[in-house]
């Protein structure tokens, strides 16, 4: 009797073990295969195409030396670097002030300002450019405000400043999130002025964030072509040249070389950022007391002014884009009509918008499940060389600009010998590329949420002989639902707005809304481009609000334990 029971238990245990091992090992190895296919091989294909590729298409070492040595290349590089530096110089201080206002002062209405500041994330990067034309173009409503015209250097700088502002802001918000109140108490009791306290406490604690934000803005600008293509005029940049070489002249080798070159600043700043972060890791000790700002009328009023000004600019720009999409015939007939939204008159009709919705839903659904499960397998299992490799691979997409990733996909998936060649031009490949492009941020969100959970949960599951997969589905997933919804929202919005990677990968059947914006602007249909951008903006905003509402509801219903007194 007892023997049989023991055997059965052992058998059961064996099966549970097998299931666990299958879940953990199988999951990790499939992750490795996916990451190699979706990240590593495309990048290697680009390296190969650029350095040993066909000279007829502008590739190969001889072409590389000729390209990098040419006056034209130096001119393009100079343009790219100058405008990107200029954007970083404008955006980072403003975003720092904005983040400081939200984290370290008692400005009223913080939630609203924060919401407005994130507006540029909800639309493709062409939208600020289009709005600038209606504001400061030759027929713009504020034409007199700027000397000369908007096409060229200042158009690019202003457009990219708006486009990169929320990216810089998010980095700086987290850099300024935590501070030790005891240091400020000590400073004030020693009679230090607020400026002195800022210089010796706040600034050293946040300067790494400032560097990271500056690098992020610089990299985003140098690889963006959405703004230059709309308001660049004859001021050309490297990213635009890569785009023209591949799509305009089918010079794949030349595109690959420029792509490789654009990878350099991204990788460099990424490496320096990692090094700085490691040096600064232990700045906040376990005994630190969180700093809470106390009201100070003068300071709060001046920061409120800054915040309101920036928000007014953003609302003005985006409001202008929405308004211009509703105008009948700019600038001669300003009556309102919806005829710019009559996409059914165009070939393909609403196909682009439908495709974008499908892409965004697929990315949000499959991407979030895949990334969350993958993060679980990395965070809650024994660390092995395999998990280390997987962590590294998850990190790479952050350092790879979308333009470069998209080019890599062209080279890898368009190889006739590639058995996955059939995916080329399909919506499936667009989903894979988009998830890979936005992988790192989503994975970091998941990892942060998972690290908050005690490892004891897994130990309990193990001692209760619950298969790990069931534990993951029944316990971990419900607890982390808010983080999962965050990932869903991030992937959805990113997929709706992205152009840089997908522009090289779509086919007539899988054209996307963001690509349609670019194409309509190219053909001179600026009203239609504004209308499609507005539609993307409204969709992203609607879905974001919906998910935020769902997340709040969930928090109230199923996450009540979070508020319960711990310990």
């Amino acid at each position: 009797m007892t023997i049989r029971a023991t055997v059965r238990a052992a058998d059961h245990k064996g099966r549970a073990d097998l299931a666990d091992r299958l879940f953990v090992n199988g999951g990790q190895w499939s992750m490795l295969i996916l990451l190699v296919l979706a990240v590593m091989l495309p990048l290697l294909a680009m390296l190969w195409r650029g350095l040993v590729g066909d000279p007829a298409q502008g590739g190969g070492l001889a072409a590389a030396t000729e390209l990098f040595g040419s006056a034209n290349f130096r001119w393009l590089l100079g343009n790219s670097v100058t405008s990107a530096l200029c954007v970083a110089l404008i955006v980072v201080p403003l975003a720092y002030g904005f983040a400081y206002a939200l984290q370290r002062t008692c400005v009223p209405g913080k939630g609203m300002w924060r919401g407005i500041s994130l507006l540029p994330l909800l639309a493709p990067s062409m939208l600020p450019g289009i709005a600038l034309i209606y504001l400061f173009g030759n027929q713009g409503v504020l034409r007199e405000w700027i000397p000369g015209n908007i096409y060229g250097f200042w158009g690019i700088v202003l457009g990219q400043a708006i486009y990169t502002f929320p990216h810089a802001l998010m980095v700086l918000l987290s850099a300024l999130a935590l501070a030790d109140a005891r240091l400020f108490d000590a400073a004030s009791s020693m009679g230090a002025s607020p400026w002195r306290a800022f210089r010796s406490i706040t600034w050293p604690g946040s300067r790494q964030g400032v560097f990271a934000a500056a690098c992020l803005v610089f990299t985003l600008c140098i690889t963006d072509f959405g703004v230059p293509v709309v308001v660049g005029g004859d001021y050309q940049t490297l990213a635009l040249e890569a785009y023209k070489a591949v799509l305009g002249q089918q010079q794949f080798g030349r595109g690959a070389l420029i792509g490789l070159f654009l990878l350099v600043p991204a990788l460099l700043s990424f490496a320096v950022d990692l090094w700085l972060r490691r040096r600064q890791r232990d700045a906040l000790s376990g005994r630190a007391q969180p700093y809470h700002a106390t009201p100070q009328r003068g300071r709060d009023a001046s920061f409120l002014l800054l915040v309101v000004t920036i928000c007014a600019v953003l609302l003005g720009v985006f409001g202008m884009a929405v308004y211009s999409s509703l105008v009948k015939f700019w600038p001669y007939d300003l009556s309102l009509s919806l005829h710019n939204y009559a996409f059914s008159e165009l070939p393909g009709g609403w196909l682009a918008y439908r495709n974008s919705l499908a892409l965004a839903c697929a990315c949000a659904l499959f991407g979030s499940v895949l990334i969350f499960t993958g993060s679980y397998l990395l965070e809650k299992t024994r660390q092995t060389p395999l998990t280390q490799v997987l962590r590294l691979l998850c990190f790479i997409p952050m350092a790879v600009p979308g333009l470069v990733l998209g080019l890599g996909y062209v080279f890898f998936f368009n190889l006739p010998a590639n058995p996955l060649h059939g995916l080329y031009g399909s919506l499936t490949l667009l989903v894979i590329c988009t998830v890979a492009h936005f992988l790192t941020t989503a994975q970091m969100t998941a990892a942060a949420a998972l690290r908050q959970l005690d490892g004891e949960f897994e130990a309990a599951a193990l001692s209760l002989k619950v298969p790990l997969l069931r534990h993951f589905l029944r316990v971990t997933l419900p607890i982390c639902l808010p983080a999962l919804l965050d990932i869903v929202r991030y992937l959805f919005v990113s997929a709706m707005t992205t152009v840089s990677a997908v522009i090289f990968l779509y086919s007539p059947d899988t054209v996307l809304a963001s690509v349609a914006v670019l194409n309509m602007d190219d053909a001179g249909n600026v009203g239609g481009a504004a209308a499609m951008s507005t539609l993307i903006l409204l969709t992203s905003a609607g879905v974001s609000l919906l998910l935020a509402g769902a997340s709040r509801g969930l928090l109230r219903r199923s996450q009540a334990w979070r508020g319960a007194p711990a310990h």
């Binding site: 096409y151 250097f153 794949f252 053909a523």
Partner: protein, 339 residues
């Protein structure tokens, strides 16, 4: 479970297969977007078993795409691409010569001279200047009447034209200036004109759209968008410069190696037919079949006589050289003109 899957698969096949029975033709084109729908509908009505899948872009890009895909062509037919581009493809041996059923009615200038021809024309489009009267009055700009006028410094930063590397309209302008003024005179003219250009665009119709919106008062473009925009009420004058108009022929050709050659031939037949000409005449004032076109209110009666004597062989043989020279002179070397 298995049964259910098999049943679903059967249903799926039943739903999909009849649709697959129709031949799908991949058609590359540089036609204006709004022209595609009526052309497609008329053709598919005549040939209900053939479906058209469009791949549309500007002339330069469609040409580059076709050349890049030379070893593994994706297109079955090209319907609506510049004759000079098709001549380049012919030199590369990429076209399948074919005499469509109504070839005898096509004008001798408007088809490839070989027999059977590698490409057959549809209609003619020609350079014209879109001139915004409201902005001109506001900014005190005189109305130009010749190409030479556009080199006048009073137009500095006021003119937009298409980039010849990506736009067929841009290339016909450049090749016409080189033919009318001679090589040396042509480049000298463009050097002066370049000083006045506010922007080079990627598409050939965008300059006219920008002129219509007053974004730039003068757009070097072609007559089709000018007429369409004028009919919509844009404050435009269509200027046809006195020295003569560069022009191009929009034409149709079959791609060698297409697996759907029979269906492709039907499209070539349709493109040269009377029914198709009746569609083209709504958009163009000069057609490949003489005697069908109607006069456009917006254009003078002697419009066809204003076209220059265009040497297509020269234009296509020298295309690479001219574009390389153009890029060297004006693309990417200049600072933004606006600054």
């Amino acid at each position: 479970m298995f049964k259910r899957i098999a049943f679903a698969a059967g249903l799926f096949a039943a739903g999909v297969l009849p649709a697959q029975a129709a031949t799908e033709l991949t058609v590359y084109t540089a036609l204006e977007v709004e022209q595609l729908k009526p052309y497609q509908q008329a053709f598919e009505k005549q040939n209900p078993d053939i479906r058209i899948k469009w791949v549309r872009d500007s002339t330069g890009i469609v040409t580059a795409k076709l050349l890049a895909e030379k070893d593994r062509p994706q297109a079955d037919v090209v319907w609506g691409l510049a004759g000079s581009s098709l001549a380049v493809l012919k030199q590369q041996g990429m076209l399948e010569p074919y005499a469509p059923s109504s070839l005898d009615r096509i004008g001798a200038h408007y088809r490839d001279s070989a027999n059977p021809p590698a490409w057959v024309g549809m209609d003619v489009w020609a350079a014209s200047i879109c001139f915004n009267t409201i902005e001109a009055e506001k900014q005190g700009l005189p109305k130009p009447t010749k190409w030479e006028d556009l080199a006048d410094p009073i137009y500095r930063g006021k003119i937009v034209m298409p980039n010849p590397a990506s736009s067929g309209t841009g290339y016909l302008d450049v090749s016409a200036w080189l033919q009318t003024f001679g090589e040396e005179g042509g480049w000298a003219y463009m050097d002066k004109l370049h000083q006045n250009i506010g922007q080079y665009t990627h598409s050939g119709s965008k300059p006219c759209k920008q002129a219509a919106a007053g974004e730039f008062p003068i757009g070097i473009s072609f007559e089709y968008p000018a007429i369409q925009l004028k009919r919509k009420g844009a404050p435009l004058d269509i200027v046809l410069p006195k020295e003569g108009l560069g022009w191009e022929i929009e034409a149709t050709a079959l791609i060698k190696g297409s697996p759907h050659l029979d269906a492709a031939k039907k499209l070539a037949d349709f493109s040269a037919s009377r029914e198709a000409m009746d569609l083209y005449k709504a958009n163009f004032a000069v057609l490949a079949q003489p005697g069908i076109a109607e006069r456009f209110q917006e254009l003078p009666a002697d419009y066809e006589q204003r076209l220059i004597k265009n040497d297509f062989d020269w234009a296509s043989e020298n295309r690479d050289r001219i574009l390389a020279e153009w890029r060297k002179r004006y693309d990417g070397k200049s600072e933004a003109v606006s600054r």
